[in-house]
Symmetry: C2
Subunit: 243 residues, 2 copies
């Protein structure tokens, strides 16, 4: 059995928004960097899978933020991997701790292994040997990612995918979807630094030069988002529940 592993961070000036608090995008980016770094340490990273023409793909994520950290605050992210949630889904968990070790956030990410040649998900029992001794028996710290469906956009914005949006695959960087979504929100939602829960589902990759359509619907205290690719297919959906 493995233990939780801790990674330390600081809210550097480039991580804050106009309220001088860490952005949701920056926190989620740190969470994903921790996932990558910890997978590397444990020998279950994309590099290892790549040798068999496979890779990890992030499918869904739930993130809860109780308090938005201020600029220069120190914090840590604890991470651990649970046994597979289903035949195709491997969960990785995160707890966010402030400088006094108080938990101020938590996250659950769900990953699939895809086969590059077949462009299909792979049953996790095929890679089970990699995970030997890597699971931790602590439960997930919050509810697994919820389904986000049935969005009826009230506001629609366009965004052309450019240089600063893409990762080494020339696909839109995962975190950019969150930026695009927050950029469609009325600014008032972002001035108050309310506690929140984010559920996000990545359905399709978007590419350099594609013009994306970002739809936003406000339903009570929940902001719903849907990003469609250049072919009008749903690429990403998300919900932010303001608490």
């Amino acid at each position: 059995m493995a233990e939780k592993t801790k990674y330390n961070f600081v809210v550097a000036p480039e991580k804050v928004d106009f309220t001088l608090h860490a952005t949701i995008e920056a926190i989620c980016s740190d969470i994903l960097n921790v996932a990558g770094a910890d997978a590397k340490v444990k020998g279950i990273s994309a590099d290892v899978l790549m040798q068999h023409n496979r890779s990890w793909v992030l499918s869904r994520m739930s993130v809860e933020i109780d308090r938005h950290l201020g600029q220069y605050e120190e914090y840590a992210i604890d991470t651990w991997v649970n046994p597979h949630a289903s035949r195709l889904v491997s969960p990785r968990n995160f707890e966010l701790l402030d400088s006094e070790s108080k938990i101020f956030g938590r996250a659950v990410s769900q990953w699939c292994v895809i086969d590059f040649e077949k462009r299909m998900p792979v049953a996790l029992d095929e890679v089970d040997s990699l995970f030997e001794g890597k699971f931790c028996d602590a439960p997930s710290p919050c509810e697994a990612p919820r389904k986000v469906r049935g969005i009826e956009p009230q506001v629609v914005r366009k965004h052309e995918v450019r240089y600063s949006d893409i990762d080494f695959n020339r696909h839109v960087n995962t975190m950019r979807y969150i930026r695009m979504m927050l950029n469609t929100l009325p600014i008032e939602y972002l001035t108050d630094n309310r506690p929140l829960r984010l559920d996000i589902h990545f359905a399709k990759e978007c590419h350099l030069g594609e013009v994306l359509t970002i739809g936003y619907e406000q339903r009570g205290e929940v902001s719903l988002f849907e990003i469609r690719n250049g072919d009008d297919a749903v690429a990403c959906t998300a919900a932010i529940e303001w608490r």
Copy 2:
């Protein structure tokens, strides 16, 4: 007389572009963060000026990058302040060193003090007492920022200023102008990681909700940029010389 001061960095994953090298924007952001941190340590920061209803404004910057660092590389930025370049302009210098202490870049920034009430620059002799013993006698490491004028855009893009673009004043974050400019370039200019020199001039602040016009002209080996605000006034100009 003061010495150069060193600040240490690492090319974290959120600082790289699709080529897995540190972006110009990320390096410039670190340079400006160093300027802020070092001014604070030396007691010449905006906080101190703010007590007299004044603040620093970045007017121009020149940045030379000989080599684009890869993800996870460690580097350092040395900084120092020279005597005022003119009645209104205070220069701050930077040298960028890789993990083997080899200089891979350098920068000169030029700052003015503005009076918030009069919305006018202040003669630096009015704040001279602050600088006592703070100057370093090392010369600037590269040519001071050049004027960038006479741009005739061949390509024009629009950008509406949104949440992720603004700083605590609700003005466009200085570094976002660089992002907007690079996003108008043909991607080929950004795949080769060529050495470069950037000259940038900040003329006007842009605000949340403004629709900016980014003009780009390629003139031989120089990429020229002009950003106009919602009133069609020039807000920022820049030149990137590809070496």
